[in-house]
């Protein structure tokens, strides 16, 4: 197990280095650099100013040295300043706080609801619930998060005359993501903050919810057909014990895997969700930084995303070994 973790970590470091290098090269071939994007555009930059800026951003070094310096900044977590002269580590904290909370609640929502839906449809196969949730999964699967977001904005906001629905008052959720109004304890929303959170969370979770529900259904159907379940029934266990102790436990192994595989996608969904709900977060910061050719910021953000992705996948793998002792033996 120990060597396995070490090997996985080494692979992950390799992947991270690859991603950072790839992005560094991409940013390098964009014409111009950070100095052409900053400052007053109306006035021509004097060579002296240009020289100072170059020194400030380390552009007077040859490219290989710049590259090594970028790597050093990432390895030491000492990211330096962004193009707008802000601490990159502060920007990281702020963006990841909002995107991370959104992503976290999105993952929780789609895992819990997806598994419940899938397992229930499998147990009551071909029942009304199964049919409805099947059709719903198909629909949600074909709707990217921003379509869901726009749809929610329509449904709760500006439906025209005949389609206008009188929603009960408690569903009048604020559409603004006002950070000043929000109170958080770590990742737990306090007070009425959950109201601003709920629509974005539905948006971010919708696609994966459909996927997880379908996946859990397939897995559970397979488990329900298994011999050991027939044995459990034959020896007279109650239906509840058969389903929960013998069925669900075995179904959980592939379900956890598929949730784990879905987590890296969640950052992608978060970027779309943030755009549709106007939430300041990762997506906005990264696209701004690429626009300004602020490679220090881009590399810092991307490497942290890659790091998180890697840690999560690793954790899922370890959890897998924890749930299914057979994995450890290999």
């Amino acid at each position: 197990m120990g060597t396995y973790i070490v090997r996985r970590l080494l692979h992950s470091l390799l992947v991270m280095w690859g991603a950072v290098t790839f992005l560094f090269l991409l940013l390098l071939i964009i014409p111009g650099d950070i100095t052409t994007q900053s400052g007053d555009t109306g006035r021509a930059m004097t060579p002296a100013v240009k020289k100072n800026l170059d020194r400030l951003y380390g552009l007077d070094d040859p490219v290989p040295i710049q590259y090594l310096k970028s790597l050093r900044r990432i390895i030491t977590f000492n990211f330096g300043m962004s193009a707008q002269n802000r601490e990159i580590s502060t920007m990281l904290k702020q963006s990841f706080a909002s995107s991370g909370r959104l992503a976290f609640w999105g993952v929780i929502t789609y895992s819990v609801l997806g598994v419940i839906t899938g397992v229930y449809s499998a147990v009551r196969r071909n029942g009304a619930f199964d049919r409805v949730s099947g059709a719903q999964s198909i629909l949600l699967n074909a709707m990217p998060p921003f379509v869901m977001g726009i749809l929610l904005q329509f449904a709760l906001g500006v439906m025209p005359g005949p389609l206008k629905w009188d929603w009960p008052k408690w569903t009048h959720f604020p559409i603004q993501w006002d950070l000043g109004q929000q109170r958080w304890f770590g990742i737990i929303p306090l007070g009425t903050t959950w109201k601003t959170l709920i629509l974005p969370v539905i948006t971010i979770a919708s696609v994966e919810y459909a996927g997880q529900a379908r996946g859990a259904r397939t897995v559970m159907l397979e488990v329900l057909r298994a011999d050991y379940l027939r044995t459990a029934r034959a020896k007279g266990l109650s239906e509840r014990s058969v389903l929960f102790k013998h069925g669900l436990r075995n179904a959980f192994i592939p379900i956890i895997t598929s949730i784990g595989l879905a987590i890296p996608n969640t950052f992608g969904y978060a970027v779309l969700t943030e755009t549709v709900w106007n939430i300041p977060g990762l997506g906005g910061t990264i696209s701004q930084a690429v626009g300004q050719q602020d490679s220090a910021t881009v590399l810092a953000f991307c490497s942290v995303i890659v790091l998180i992705t890697i840690v999560v996948t690793l954790m899922v793998d370890l959890l897998y070994g924890f749930i299914d002792p057979r994995v450890k033996v290999q």
Binding site: H11, L14, V15, M16, G18, A19, F22, L23, L26, L27, I29, I30, P31, I138, L139, N141, A142, M143, P144, F146, V147, I150, L151, Q153, F154, G157, V158, M159, P160, G161, K164, R214, G215, T218, L221, P264, F267, G268, V271, L272, T275, V276, G283, I286, S287, V290, G291, V298, F301, C302, I305, V306, T309, I310
Partner: protein, 302 residues
């Protein structure tokens, strides 16, 4: 192989016959799947629309009608007009062409790259496999928004550029799938038998291994087209995809955000979204139907 020419001929002939029967069986099973057949019909319609967009669209996609700004659906403009007075129906028809063109490009590119990399990776294994899979991991891990933005800034927003970074995003997954298939089949008895009979690597790959993975490959095509259309819409929404006035479906849906403040504009959202959702669902069902028909064992598997 040292076989007489005549025998080799009958050998290929037999293989061809077997393949014929196989596809006839697939078609027979596929035809029984009513949902999949209906979706195949829809896919046919969409492909025809995208090929003949020029003749089907009543107006050009950027023709502006000063008299008809933000009109609802009516007899002149079937799906209404947008805020710049452009006929939405024509834009959706041209959008089908653009989205399908991109999807086909991306799917063919992804297919080529993932077939080559996945097959070689699974077949040779070892360090070669490790290196290729790590490269795939790099593309999975790199946040796509940064990659896409850098690409369009450097190379512009032509369909080729968008296709290339879409392929970068899609190939790792399908290459892994192909690799898994190869790993699954490469130790099968018939491969062993072929090798014992003296077949070379190339012959084993082309006539024994790849034909067995072929049904899944074909089924993957439909799914890949759906994913490509979905990804394109996300790029357009994040402003790293097609640019105005190109009416890709993603662009149309993204632009319909202006409608969230006014109920008169809801048609701008409804019609493109319907076209989009129906298309993706149809491709998905056709590909699922094909996979079920090609390999009934996999029925219900995702």
């Amino acid at each position: 192989m040292n076989v007489p020419a005549v025998m080799a001929n009958t050998d290929t002939q037999l293989a061809r016959d077997a393949a014929d029967t196989f596809w006839r069986d697939v078609w027979k099973r596929f035809r029984r799947n009513k949902v999949a057949m209906f979706c195949l019909f829809l896919v046919g319609v969409i492909i025809l629309v995208s090929i003949f967009a020029k003749w089907l669209a009543p107006y050009g996609y950027d023709d502006q009608f000063v008299g008809g700004i933000t009109e609802g659906p009516n007899s002149k403009f079937w799906f209404g007009t947008d805020n710049l007075g452009r006929d939405l129906f024509s834009r959706i028809v041209y959008g089908a062409q653009i989205s399908m063109r991109l999807a086909v490009l991306v799917t063919l590119g992804t297919l080529l790259v993932s077939l080559v990399l996945g097959t070689l990776s699974g077949w040779y294994g070892g360090w070669f496999d490790s290196v290729l899979m790590r490269i795939a991991d790099v593309f999975i891990a790199t946040p796509y928004i940064a990659m896409a933005l850098a690409f369009v800034t450097v190379f512009g927003r032509s369909i080729w550029v968008i296709a290339v970074f879409s392929i970068f995003r899609q190939f790792p997954g399908s290459a892994r799938g192909q690799r898994a298939l190869i790993l699954q089949y490469k130790n099968a008895d018939y491969i062993e038998a072929a090798r014992a009979a003296g077949a070379g690597t190339r012959r084993i790959l082309w006539t024994h291994l790849l034909p067995n993975t072929f049904p899944q490959t074909i089924a993957g095509l439909g799914q890949s087209i759906g994913v490509a259309i979905l990804n394109e819409s996300a790029y357009s929404f994040l402003n790293v995809g097609f640019q105005e006035p190109t009416p890709s479906w993603g662009r149309l849906i993204a632009d319909s955000r202006i409608a969230t403040t006014s109920p008169d504009l809801i048609h701008l959202f409804i019609f493109p979204t319907l076209a989009f959702v129906i298309t993706i669902t149809a491709f998905l069902f056709v590909s699922e139907g094909l996979r079920d028909a090609a390999d009934p064992k996999l029925r219900g598997a995702r």
